[in-house]
């Protein structure tokens, strides 16, 4: 049973981590609490469905097109709804909630409440220590690790990464130093939305595509980000796996209470916050102020 819990927790955690990394990046760097992050992930999922099913494109082409279009949409949303009010964090929060709700209604109108699905990129499953794991889940796990590495390298080893970090530390000074802070913020948003879209592309064959599919991941992602430390990418990564393991533990140890797995995961978050308010890898709220 222990092996089941470990493997299942790893798989679940990797899916959550993929979502949380992009969210954390834009929060840590641009200080944007983008509630529409998972709604953009849903957008990518719907675009992949449109490409793969009604348009009959190959799943890979549909995924690449969907990622590109979602990034474009994310940038439009940023320019129209976020950039004009970027200095007001509460307003940004509300604006992104509105964007998420708008996207939900658009897809509800266009596709109704039907549950849709797309085929996996890689069919079949592997047996690891007697536990069956689909190749698509393994792909999600591999990609989560790759994304973390790529984001880390990008931020630490490239000029643009340096500019993003500098802008995150002090926007005004970065501007005075000759950095185009607007462009830096745009780039950060594009990367973050791109990560959401890639997550959508990888996760969409594992889930059901429907207009409320963004809500549950949003709650889990917020829990992970708070648990890991606001804006900390490593924290999000660790938090994602912690909640993944917590969910698996509940299903295996209390089968009758399997429906409680989300509640248990959120309770762990509250417990950690009571002991360590800044989260696992974050700076304390007081310090930030």
């Amino acid at each position: 049973m222990l092996l089941d819990i470990v493997i299942d927790g790893l798989i679940k955690g990797s899916v959550y981590a993929l979502l949380a990394i992009g969210f954390s990046l834009v929060l840590g760097v641009a200080r944007i609490i983008n509630i529409a992050h998972t709604a953009l992930y849903m957008t990518a999922a719907y675009l992949i469905y449109i490409g793969a099913k009604p348009l009959g494109l190959s799943p890979l082409v549909a995924m690449l097109a969907a990622v590109g279009l979602t990034v474009l949409l994310g940038l439009v949303v940023y320019r129209l709804f976020i950039q004009p009010i970027q200095e007001h964090e509460a307003a940004v929060l509300i604006a992104t909630i509105a964007v998420a709700m708008m996207l939900q209604e658009v897809f509800l109108m266009a596709f109704g409440g039907h549950y849709l699905g797309v085929p996996p990129l890689v069919d079949g499953f592997a047996v690891i220590f007697g536990v069956k794991v689909t190749f698509q889940h393994l792909l999600a796990l591999g990609l989560a690790l790759l994304m973390l590495l790529a984001v880390r390298v990008f931020l630490m080893k490239t000029r643009l990464g340096l500019a993003i970090r500098a802008t995150a530390q002090d926007r005004e000074v970065a501007n005075l130093m000759g950095m185009n802070v607007t462009r830096v913020a745009m780039t950060t948003v594009a990367i973050s939305v791109g990560l959401a879209a890639v997550t959508g592309a990888i996760v969409v064959p594992l889930v059901t595509v429907e207009p409320t599919m963004w809500m549950h991941p949003l709650i889990m992602m917020l829990a992970i980000v708070v648990l890991g430390g606001l804006g900390s990418i490593e924290g999000s990564f660790v938090g994602a796996f912690l909640l993944g393991f917590a969910e698996s533990l509940v299903v295996f140890l209390v089968p009758m209470g399997a429906f409680l797995k989300d509640s248990v995961a959120l309770s762990i978050m509250i417990l950690v916050l009571l002991i360590r308010p800044e989260g696992l890898f974050g700076v304390s709220f007081e310090e930030e102020r």
Binding site: M1, D4, D8, I11, K12, K53, L108, M109, G112, G113, H114, Y115, L116, G117, V118, P119, P120, F125, V131, K132, V133, T134, H137, P205, L206, V207, T208, E210, M213, H216, P217, E247, S248, V251, F252, P255, M256, G257, A258, F259, K261, D262
Partner: protein, 425 residues
């Protein structure tokens, strides 16, 4: 004469106008409110079934009331009951007070229908339910007949009967597994969404399986109705060595479960209730991974009555979707037509008296209402069916020789090949 031609034309116009006005007055439509979550498959089923029946009835001259043929006018009432119960109550209120409907059909979620039922009963409007299964909806009729007599349930059969069919299907698959695979004592995993309608089924299964059906229950899992992942549950079920997984799902978790069950080839046959697998879109939504899922159902392309296959084919042709149990609004409209014609009025009390006497062949069986105004479930009446996905088609696999009932077009149940491979001795 030519000089006065315009006078003749005016007279002719007036006469024609009067004649048309007279026809319009005589043909005052009978308004029927169709209640359902219209953005979802269930609401579409309500609307499509009712639309198809209304078009047929109107094309045949309408409803003959006291010597006058009156057309049916449908009022689409979006209850949005999936997302909001208050929306459903507002919609029902609006249908009665603003649209002035004569009758109501539809409804889906029990929690919403209970409230809409009260609203309809207050207004003394006949309401034929086509969607909610909870027994309480009809128990109310026996408890307080004068208030609730305007309520009738047509589809689906109530959850007590659903439970019976559920256990019959389980017993059928168990017998096939014993015979085919040489298994002696079968192990069953129970998985049911955490919802109140599923509680009595889980409780009954935990008692009945070991005590009356000679099976061992290896565990009970209760995921959330909207769970997005069931891999942990499936791993645990496989670890427990289950031969059969007994499902009770009405929400999206049923789709997630079936998709992952097929993807991981879990060696336990999936039997029970899975509402998602009753839909045409199930195959595509699961990318074919839901093959071999067996569920209790209302319709499949099988000769339950002479009306079933023509209804099924026409519905599929018109709406590119197989009818589901909410499409029972089709039969509901014909029942109302017959009752109104026999009563010679749309007066609710007189129509109720006629529906109580109704004994007719519908698309889902012989339709007769019992004293609680619930549809009768029995051999020779409405039985429900067991449907399984086989090679991209939803086929009827039950009843075959059950209490003397076999529906023409039913085919044998197929065990998933990976289950056979895993357990074959």
């Amino acid at each position: 004469m030519k000089r006065h031609g315009w006078i003749w034309r005016v007279w002719l116009g007036l006469l024609l106008g009067l004649a048309l006005a007279g026809t319009a007055l005589a043909a005052e439509p009978i308004k029927i409110g169709v209640l359902g979550p219209m953005a979802f498959t269930q609401g579409e089923g309500h609307w499509n079934g009712a639309s198809m029946a209304a078009e047929e009835i109107n094309a045949a001259g309408g409803v003959k009331v006291g010597g006058v043929n009156r057309p049916i006018e449908l009022v689409k009432v979006d209850t949005n009951e999936f997302l909001s119960i208050p929306d459903a109550t507002n919609a029902a209120e609006m249908a009665i007070s603003r649209h002035k409907v004569d009758f109501l059909v539809g409804g889906f979620r029990t929690e919403a229908v209970l409230v809409m039922q009260d609203i309809a009963m207050d207004a003394k409007k006949v309401f034929i339910g086509c969607g909610a299964a909870h027994p309480e909806l009809c128990t109310r009729v026996t408890k307080d007949y004068d208030r609730y007599k305007y309520w009738f349930r047509l589809t689906p059969i109530n959850s007590t009967y659903l439970g019976k069919v559920d256990f019959i299907l389980l017993g059928t698959v168990a017998a096939i597994m014993k015979q085919t695979l040489g298994l002696e004592k079968l192990k069953v995993a129970i998985i049911a969404e955490k919802a109140s309608w599923a509680d009595p089924i889980v409780k009954a299964a935990e008692t009945m399986l070991p005590e009356k059906m000679g099976m061992e229950v290896v565990g009970t899992w209760r995921p959330s109705p909207v769970a997005k992942d069931c891999t942990a549950e499936l791993s645990a079920i496989q670890r427990a060595g289950a031969h059969i997984v007994f499902t009770t799902f009405s929400s999206s978790v049923g789709l997630t479960f079936a998709k992952q069950w097929g993807e991981l080839k879990v060696p336990a046959a999936a039997v029970g209730i899975n509402v998602e697998s009753q839909k045409s879109g199930f195959w595509e939504a699961t990318s074919g991974k839901g093959e071999y899922t067996l569920t209790v159902n209302t319709y499949a392309r099988v000769k339950i009555t002479d009306k079933t296959i023509p209804f099924y084919d026409k519905y599929l042709k018109l709406y590119k979707e197989a009818p589901n149990y909410t499409s029972g609004t089709y039969d509901a409209l014909y029942i109302l037509k017959e009752a109104v014609e026999k009563a010679g009025t749309t007066d609710s009390d007189k129509v109720v008296a006629q529906i109580e006497k109704h004994d007719g062949i519908g698309t889902a069986g012989r339709e007769v209402f019992d004293k609680s105004h619930d549809i009768t479930w029995a051999p020779g009446y409405v039985t429900s069916i067991g449907s399984q996905w086989q090679d991209g088609q939803m086929v009827c696999v039950w009843p075959i020789n059950w209490e003397g009932v076999t529906y023409e077009g039913a085919v044998p149940y197929k065990l998933p090949p990976w289950v056979v491979e895993h357990w074959k001795k």
